[in-house]
C-alpha cells in the first residue's frame, strides 16, 4: 500500500476507529474525511451506495466498505507490517469468528440492554451478560485476544473495551462489572493503554457528552 488512501469516518463511531487503528498499526498515511451522518456527502453515497455508511476506505479511488472487510484488506495489502490477523488458517478462522460474534451478537445486545427500558431491558441485560461471558472465557489467560499483542478481535472489540464504559456511564446500566468479568475488565484497561489504541480513541468526555445528547432525543 502507499499512494492515495482516504478514510470516510465519523469521530465518535467505533467501526470507523477500527479502520484508523489498523492504518496506524501498519504505519500507512491516510487522509481523513469527517462525515455528517445527518447530511451524507455525495462522495460517501458514491463510494458506498449499498449501505450508505461509514467507514469507507478509498484506496487509489477504489472503495471498500464494512469495517471487518476493510481490516482484512489493510492486512493483506501490507503483509510485512504489524499482523492484524494471525497467519495460521485455524487461528484466522477463530479471529474471524469472534469478530463476527462481536458485530452480529454483542453490539445489538449491548444496544438493547443499555438503551431500552423496562422489562425488555432486563431481558436484554441478561442476554448481553451471557454474550460477554463468551468473550470473558475466550480471553483465558491471554493479555489480548490476539495473544501478546493486539489483533483483529481486539480491534473489533473496541466497542467493549472503550465505548461500553461510556454507554454504561450515560445510561446507568451496568453490564461489564469487575466481579463478573475480571478478565474482560483487565483486558479493557490493557486495551485503552496500548500505544496505537490510546492515540486513536476519541476523547472520553466528548463521547459521553455526545451520548447524553443522543439519549435525550430518543
Amino acid at each position: 500500500m502507499g499512494e492515495e488512501v482516504v478514510v470516510f469516518d465519523v469521530w465518535v463511531n467505533p467501526y470507523s476507529r477500527r479502520v484508523e487503528t489498523a492504518m496506524r498499526l501498519k504505519g500507512v498515511p491516510y487522509r481523513y474525511i469527517e462525515e455528517d451522518l445527518g447530511n451524507k456527502s455525495p462522495l460517501l453515497l458514491k463510494y458506498n451506495p449499498i449501505h450508505e455508511k461509514v467507514p469507507v476506505l478509498v484506496h487509489n479511488g477504489n472503495p471498500i466498505a464494512e469495517s471487518l472487510v476493510i481490516l482484512e484488506y489493510i492486512d493483506e495489502t501490507r503483509p510485512q507490517g504489524f499482523p492484524i490477523l494471525p497467519r495460521d488458517p485455524y487461528e484466522r478462522a477463530t479471529a474471524r469468528f469472534w469478530s463476527k460474534f462481536i458485530d452480529d451478537k454483542c453490539m445489538p445486545a449491548i444496544t438493547q440492554a443499555c438503551w431500552d427500558e423496562g422489562e425488555a431491558s432486563d431481558k436484554a441485560v441478561e442476554e448481553a451478560t451471557e454474550l460477554l461471558m463468551f468473550l470473558e472465557n475466550e480471553l483465558k489467560e491471554k493479555r489480548f485476544f490476539g495473544g501478546e499483542r493486539i489483533g483483529m478481535v481486539d480491534i473489533a472489540a473496541n466497542i467493549v473495551g472503550f465505548w461500553l464504559g461510556t454507554i454504561e456511564e450515560v445510561t446507568g446500566v451496568e453490564l461489564m462489572t469487575r466481579d463478573k468479568f475480571p478478565k474482560l475488565s483487565n483486558w479493557s484497561i490493557e486495551f485503552v493503554r496500548s500505544n496505537v489504541i490510546k492515540e486513536n480513541l476519541p476523547p472520553r468526555e466528548g463521547v459521553i457528552s455526545y451520548l447524553r445528547k443522543k439519549r435525550l432525543t430518543r
Binding site: 449499498i50 484488506y73 488458517p89 474471524r96 469468528f97
Partner: protein
C-alpha cells in the same frame, strides 16, 4: 497425516450447502452427519457452544463455525486447487463484501416471504425483489459473481437457488420473470458437479418450507 474432516449439517440449510459445495470443489473427503435441529447432538453443542448451529466443520478434531468462515478456511487450507477467493486483495475485499451482503440480506428477507401475511407480506416481497435486483446489478454481464470463474460469492448465494421454488410460491412472483439473469447464473452454476450434487431438489425444499410455515403460522 491422515486428515479427518467431519461436517455437522442439516440437509435443507443453504448455509450448510455452502460448505458442502466448497468441500466438493476441493475434492475433500469428509464424513457428513445430519443433525436433528429439534434434538441437537452433544457433539454439536460441544463444537458450537456459542451459537449451537450448523454447519460446523470439524477438522482433525477442531471445530470451525459460521458457513462463510468455514468456506474461507477450506479455501486457505486446501489451496492447491479450485481457488474460491480471488488472489488480488481488492477483489478479495469485494468478494467478502458481497458475500456479507448475501448473509445480511437474503435469508432474513426470504424468510419473511413464508412467515408473514397481508401488508407485512407485501412489504417483504418488495424488499426481497429489491435485494435480488441489487445482486443482479452486481452480477452484470459476468458469467459468475467471481468473474470468469465460480468463486466465493457464487458459493455464498447459489445455495439459495434450491429455495427459489419456495420463495416464488410463497412470495407470489416468478423469479424467471423478475430476475432472468439470476436464473441464468444459477443454471450456469448448476452445470458444475459440486453444485448439482449438493443442492437438494427444489420441490423437496418447498415441501419442507410448507411444513415449517404451517407450524409457524399455526395453520
Amino acid at each position: 497425516m491422515a486428515e479427518e474432516v467431519v461436517l455437522l449439517d442439516f440437509w435443507v440449510s443453504m448455509f450448510g450447502m455452502r460448505v458442502r459445495v466448497a468441500l466438493a470443489e476441493k475434492g475433500i473427503k469428509y464424513e457428513y452427519r445430519e443433525e436433528d435441529l429439534r434434538n441437537k447432538s452433544d457433539l454439536l453443542l460441544q463444537m458450537n457452544p456459542v451459537h449451537k448451529k450448523i454447519p460446523v466443520l470439524i477438522h482433525n478434531g477442531k471445530p470451525i463455525c459460521e458457513s462463510l468462515i468455514i468456506v474461507q478456511y477450506i479455501d486457505e487450507v486446501w489451496n492447491d486447487k479450485s481457488p474460491l477467493l480471488p488472489s488480488d486483495p481488492y477483489k478479495r475485499a469485494q468478494a467478502r463484501f458481497w458475500a456479507d451482503f448475501v448473509d445480511k440480506k437474503v435469508y432474513e428477507s426470504g424468510r419473511k416471504l413464508w412467515t408473514t401475511k397481508g401488508e407485512e407480506h407485501g412489504a417483504a416481497k418488495k424488499e426481497f425483489l429489491e435485494i435480488l435486483k441489487t445482486l443482479e446489478e452486481e452480477l452484470g454481464e459476468k458469467p459468475y459473481f467471481g468473474g470468469e470463474t465460480f468463486g466465493f460469492v457464487d458459493v455464498a448465494f447459489v445455495t439459495f437457488y434450491s429455495w427459489f421454488n419456495a420463495f416464488e410460491t410463497f412470495g407470489e412472483f416468478s423469479m424467471e420473470a423478475e430476475h432472468p439473469k439470476i436464473i441464468a447464473w444459477a443454471k450456469r452454476c448448476m452445470q458444475k458437479e459440486s453444485v448439482a450434487k449438493t443442492l437438494p431438489d427444489q420441490q423437496k425444499v418447498y415441501e419442507f418450507v410448507l411444513g415449517m410455515r404451517k407450524r409457524f403460522l399455526g395453520e
